[in-house]
Amino acid sequence: MRTGIFFCQVEENNRLNVAAVAKYAANLPNVETVQELGIQPRLDAKDLAGLVHSGNLERIVIAGDMPGYFKPVFTKAMALAGHDPLEVRLASFREHGASGSTTLERAKAIVACAAFGVPFALAVVPGEKPVQPTTLIIGAGIAGIQAALEIADAGKPVCLVERFGTIGGHMAMFDKTFPTLDCSACILTPKMVSVAQHEMIRLLTNSEVIALSGSPGSYRVQIKCKARMVDVDACVACNICSEVCPVEVASEFDAGIARRKAVYIPFPQAVPNAYLVDAENCLYVQSAGKKCGACVKKCPKECIDLTQKDEIIEIEVGNIIIATGYDVLRADNIEHYGYGILPNVLTALEFERLTNASGPTGGKIVTKSLKLNKRTKLEEWVFDANGPAPKSVAIIHCVGSRDQNYNSYCSRVCCMYSLKFAHLVKEKLPGADCYEFYIDMRAFGKGYEEFFERIKHEGTFVVRGRTAAISELNGQMMVTGEDIIQDKLIQFPVDMVLLAVGLIPAHGTEELSRMLGLTRDEDGWFSELNYNGRPTDTEKGCIYVAGMCQSPKDIPDAVAQASAVAAGVLSSISSGKGIGHRGSVTLSEIEARAKSLQAK
């Protein structure tokens, strides 16, 4: 087929040498003409038809970052010239991922496939390799746990690695889930216990993946198991060590609103249900054995060993699932909300812990009160179960989300958890006023819109308009904003402000992506292979993404994605073949395969 190739770019792309691709394309078989039309060319169907006619072109390939943009005019030109208008092929650099280190080779392959008339995805099939049965899961939040249980229940071995001292992730911190208001722990804890007891799951808490080698189907992974210093099997969680420990630091599990000791258990239902020592804060470890050591002496089971060292283990796995989750945006970056300065401005996670029955106030919603810290002799704002309850609570949506000064993306869960907070406030403090300040209400899921209606009926004031500032006037917090619907400015006193902070990739995501050789999108989340067709695969074979680490999503979506990943992993194991690395397929291989497909 006599082919004409036209290069048309929509945007400037300095990383791609279009001239080199054009030179390569000119040498492809049956290619009559190659033309570079530049960026956003003004095309005229009649002129193009003349070109088609003079060259007697039977097939046209439009090559560029977004060639579909130019397709109509070329189709019209083909029709005008009396040729088959269906023979307009697209060679899309952007769609098929001509980016990164392999840009040029990939772009050449894309053009070649289009010129041969073979769909790119058909021509690029990485070779299959035998696969190891073990699966590594990084991150033991709800997504990691779900995937681990699905795979282990199918009888395949799983190694579940978690950075924190317990599994459960953020979901373990929540009180209720939206929109059903189920008890979060009631759903999660049985799953956590099953993980601990499952014979096919090897659980490594307090551990991090530090190196990866090998190829899809048989990766060698190095895992650093940080010293726990407490014997997991012997510990009976009697709490005596914590009582004698002199060090107090902010509790990660309680989002910083409560304090814990240097030897601690994150929360009573932690899995594994054993204490651990925070080496960075332990006096004994920091002084190299010169100070303290009280917990060792007091432990009735003699299971604490403060001299234990970190250990590095190496395992061989076939598939890897990344389920590293997220962190919340630091609210003190946003000056005008006064977080960190005004004591009763809380982030979403802090409020989750405050309202949680296992939280520091036993689930009572109170404002902070001033208490004297005996150690530092300073007055501090702390939560006290007997503190005063707030009379009015303002919940502010889109804090650091949909805002080009922070994150331009929508964090997707904030609208719904904010509505849940409004419900919890109204449920626990029926007399309190509750205000929701939103820009757009994104109640997109099953039962979400109904939940929104329910909240409105419960008496929460839902105000459309972002709050501009939280200030303090004579000891009273004031919220300033605009009510867009009523078209008026508002300023009124509140006792507590909850910031629906946006979500960001978990810390360490960048290092992990570099170590695994995976790409991330511009916001820092892991990139999936194809947003619509293969949402859990990555560019690298046998590595999958599940849950929040790919993009913000709610619990149902994270669980669904985890199960989908498990299906992919199981199919890879049961077929005995892992799918190779797409990026490793060379240009000549793609060309050869395209040629053979064309011959068929």
Partner: protein, 387 residues
């Protein structure tokens, strides 16, 4: 009443500087953060909405742009980068061109080249005129007195004629401003005595620019420098205009220094120079939000002002040091810049010197009228309830 929509207005405003209005998603952050938004003037969001909806008539009658001194807090916090502050600035330019009946303002704002060409042509004409006049009747080596190259009595009359012309156009614009916002086109009936009750606001806003200082009040780091520079520039300008219009004879007489007049001249020159340099540096460095984007007319204004102040001071020094030929030459250059600069005043942003205090005065009058109307309605409703 039918509402006429002009969907092109948002594109039209691009020529005046506001390019990102379409990005706004109406979160209301800008209005809430603005130190000057009040019950009746919820801005900048409301004008942004009018622009997106193409409500040209509403924009024409709105006073909100005149209440803004462009502190830039709205633009800093805008989550969409829609530049509400710049939009208010552009609306002021647009309104000036709307109030102006000649159409020159629109031409100047739309094309800096046209404005520059007009300035150069007028400057050349002025130069030729004064050179011809000087050689025809005087001696280039004489600065003041009866045989002066440019006799002060003539300059005085020329100033008055020029001042009259400028005042005429400003007056016309001001009338149209009133007509759009308060008079025929306004929907709010305003009792005449409210105008008298609030008239003290005109000199108050004109001479103190108190609201500009208020812009800083709510920021975390209060720096009153922009306000001081703005005030210094404006007061210097007004003082200079006044003494040149009225006391040009005393100003030009020499070589001894007539302190009763000159002291004002020195202070005014200082204000002008410092203000102009501060603003030029700010716009070059783009160190504050309001200096991020400069329209061509802003540059023309500031550069010409700087030249005027500089040549004014130079000719004064040259005259006192006896270099009369040089003083006369600099004087010609001074006039070549002053004449186009004054003439362009009613058609450019500089008209805001008069229009802004006027807008604030109108706004105070209208607010009170609205408040009275509202309380009137409330009393009627209460009366009905009682009955």
């Amino acid at each position: 009443m039918a509402i006429r929509v002009n969907p092109k207005i948002i594109d039209d405003l691009e020529g005046y500087g506001a390019e990102d209005v379409h990005l706004c998603y109406h979160c209301g952050n800008c209005s809430a953060v603005c130190p000057h938004a009040d019950e009746f003037n919820v801005f900048p969001r409301r004008p942004m909405r009018y622009l997106q909806m193409g409500l040209e008539r509403k924009l024409e009658t709105s006073l909100e742009p005149w209440l803004c001194y462009y502190c830039g807090q709205c633009s800093d916090q805008c989550p969409r980068g829609a530049e509400p502050g710049e939009t208010m600035m552009s609306l002021r330019r647009w309104l000036i061109s709307r109030y102006d009946i000649t159409g020159i303002a629109r031409l100047f704002f739309k094309s800096t080249k046209v404005e520059l060409a007009a300035v150069i042509i007028v400057a050349l004409l002025t130069g030729i005129f004064f050179l011809g006049f000087g050689f025809w009747q005087g001696d280039i080596n004489v600065y003041d007195g009866s045989n002066a190259f440019l006799p002060s009595s003539f300059i005085h009359n020329f100033d008055l004629a020029l001042g009259f012309l400028v005042a005429l156009f400003i007056g016309l614009s001001a009338f149209r401003f009133w007509w759009f916002s308060m008079g025929g086109k306004s929907a709010v009936p305003i009792p005449w005595w409210l105008y008298i009750k609030k008239v003290y606001l005109l000199p108050w806003h004109f001479f103190t620019q108190k609201r500009f200082a208020d812009c800083e009040k709510e920021t975390t780091r209060r720096i009153y420098l922009p306000w001081l520079a703005h005030l210094g520039l404006m007061l210097g300008y007004i003082t200079m205009l006044f003494i040149v219009m009225v006391f040009v004879k005393q100003l030009q007489a020499g070589p001894e220094i007539n302190w009763s007049v000159h002291v004002f001249g020195y202070l005014a020159s200082l204000g002008l120079l410092i203000g102009a340099v501060y603003m030029l540096c700010g716009r070059l460095k783009k160190n504050r939000t309001q200096y991020q984007r400069s329209h061509g007319s802003d540059w023309i204004f500031l550069v010409l002002l700087f030249i005027i102040a500089l040549t004014g001071v130079t000719q004064h020094i040259l005259h006192r040091s006896g270099l009369l030929l040089a003083a006369n030459i600099v004087y010609i250059v001074h006039l070549m810049v002053v004449v186009p600069w004054l003439l362009r005043m009613p058609f450019t942003k500089w008209a805001h010197m008069f229009l802004r205090p006027l807008g604030m005065y109108f706004s105070a009058v209208r607010n009170e009228a609205l408040a009275r109307q509202k309380s009137g309605i409330e009393t009627t409703v209460q009366a009905r309830k009682v009955a």
